[in-house]
Symmetry: C2
Subunit: 410 residues, 2 copies
Amino acid sequence: MEAPVVGIVGAGQLARMLQPPAVALGVPLRALAEYADSAAGQVVPDTEVGDPADLETLLAWSKPCSVVTFDHEQVPSAHLAALEAAGVTCRPGSAALLHAQDKAVMRRRLSELGLPCPRYVVVRAAEDVTRFAAEVGFPVVLKAPRGGYDGKGVWFAASADAVAKLLARLPAGVSLLCEEAVPFRRELSALVARSPSGQLAAYPVVETVQRDGVCVEVTAPAPDLDPELAATAAELAAEVATELGVTGILAVELFETSDGRLLVNELAMRPHNTGHWSIDGAVTSQFENHLRAVLDLPLGEPFARAPWTVTVNILGGPVPSLYDGFPHVFARDPGLRVHLYGKSVRPGRKVGHVSAYGDDLAALLARARHAAVWFAGDADAEQETGTPPGEGPAEGALGAPSSEPREPQS
Amino acid sequence: MEAPVVGIVGAGQLARMLQPPAVALGVPLRALAEYADSAAGQVVPDTEVGDPADLETLLAWSKPCSVVTFDHEQVPSAHLAALEAAGVTCRPGSAALLHAQDKAVMRRRLSELGLPCPRYVVVRAAEDVTRFAAEVGFPVVLKAPRGGYDGKGVWFAASADAVAKLLARLPAGVSLLCEEAVPFRRELSALVARSPSGQLAAYPVVETVQRDGVCVEVTAPAPDLDPELAATAAELAAEVATELGVTGILAVELFETSDGRLLVNELAMRPHNTGHWSIDGAVTSQFENHLRAVLDLPLGEPFARAPWTVTVNILGGPVPSLYDGFPHVFARDPGLRVHLYGKSVRPGRKVGHVSAYGDDLAALLARARHAAVWFAGDADAEQETGTPPGEGPAEGALGAPSSEPREPQS
């Protein structure tokens, strides 16, 4: 059987979760992992270990690939352009992906398109921030344009003093994106798949709950969402995908404001944590549709199979072996769907997720939260998991830029 | 993460389809493949090539496995006993598996349990058959007790002459199972998962359609099945699983006779072709429940997610590349679920299946049949795929014992 080889730069849980639909479609995957025993390397036979920031590595690895896609946004833009110049088909392409790699570029482009964003300015000095804050008020949100994920690279500053302290800790001359702190009612996510030939498939708009900048919970569809607002969100995601020429999954993270407006928070051009519910809850998962899109195959139905599907992330806690959670979780709840990522447990690290679907939303959330907490072993977390909407700010609190090893986003 | 390693003897499509739930559960698989580039070896990194009929190979391969299970029944019984004697946990165990390996042993044991079987006798000579036929009438069915699959090793004999001709072509002194040819209304299949601790999960009883001894179509649940008969079938499968000490999936293939009785046709102790619908159609697929059972984890719900799920097998036809079928099939039918096995196309070989679920059974069958035929490229086959029930005999016609390379059953 002559099926094209899909290359994936990165071998985290997103690459791992591409493997089940690749198995079904008979499509061989080829992963580029940054380290051995990666989440995807455990389950994708054709995995090479190498640094995607090294162009020679990237070029050599990509040779057998019919198309190259991404598990994270960390590949240098110049390398992507060089790959394309060498004739490698990248999906999404470098020109589109730039908008998911650089938040300042994204803000500029979306504003040009007239799409609703928080007010923002690119700043280099404390004076730039205070001038902006005089207009929008404190607190403001400061973001590293590149390299941030899961709340890392994002800081809230409540005063001119806090801004001065933060900037003093950053390298001189670095530019930051400075945004108004949006008083949102809740966060939503609109996912679409887009194929190179222009076909679009829009998933139901979901509600997401973040804690310390990390997605902890997703409900599909977003409860009590005004149908017009849901349609607007899906159209907005479709417009971004089309205008930016995205291929594959595009996730548009949105704020729903107290006065019923939508503002774009972030973009991601790959399967996204807010779409994991689709594995068990949709006709075609975001992972299968990502594959179909990057292969330019017609897309599968993105519709929900049940009235409600909820996903709760398993964040690393005191229990070192997630496997030990199965006897309790499965005996207690034979309808629960569990997805573990094969990653070693570290505090707060996303190491898996659980999904539940059915008619009774409150019961589904209780079931999924219980299981997620049980796997982690963090009894205190259970109460916290269900942070009521509107208790934001949900983004990371003021802190130093992270120097932890980078990890695929999701 | 300390998850146990599940070893699978054989690396056909059944082992391949264990990989998606293994990915989700974070359970590493280790396959023993008879040849390179096997269906499972393409997607399971830890695959070794070796002959399972060689005990040394089997023992060495099994060393890192926490438990060993099977993709086919072809491992010599003595080897399984030797594995167990060496301390390797086999699930199902050799004592149970023998009943799926040897049809004469199975018939004897089920008869002892008082379970309904066709009348049968073990024969060595033509006279034995004619004596039996004098009682039950011609035609009779002759079966090689071991090694048959997909209609191979099964012959219909309509007369004493035909019996004599068949036996003349077999080695002298070989013993055969001789059964009455049951005038069945249709074929059903009852699947259960059973764990070592005795938990049982029964899947909805399905209707299966065979052509030339090969399963071509499955409808879940079996249409118009008397609820009492459905319960009887599930209880029968549960009784077989319990009495024989099966661990993992047990498939009981049944005849539903014109007068509303059930007779056991065949047993299989592994995920089974008649359970493939469960990947897309049940809360927990047979593959996930097989893994959970052999790991002695609590089983997942086996319930159907939709009123109807149908599966149609893709049998090899004139089109050499199944991938080429995607543009048409996916564009025409975005709700269809396609599973390809990574096997090279040979005439009549099971190389994949398609499933569809929903409310309208006739429409689902039409959709799945169209896609299966499209992949194969065999336009003539479309009309034949839907052989109406009762048009049997569905088992293989009189022919020489097959000497084709053996292939995992499903």
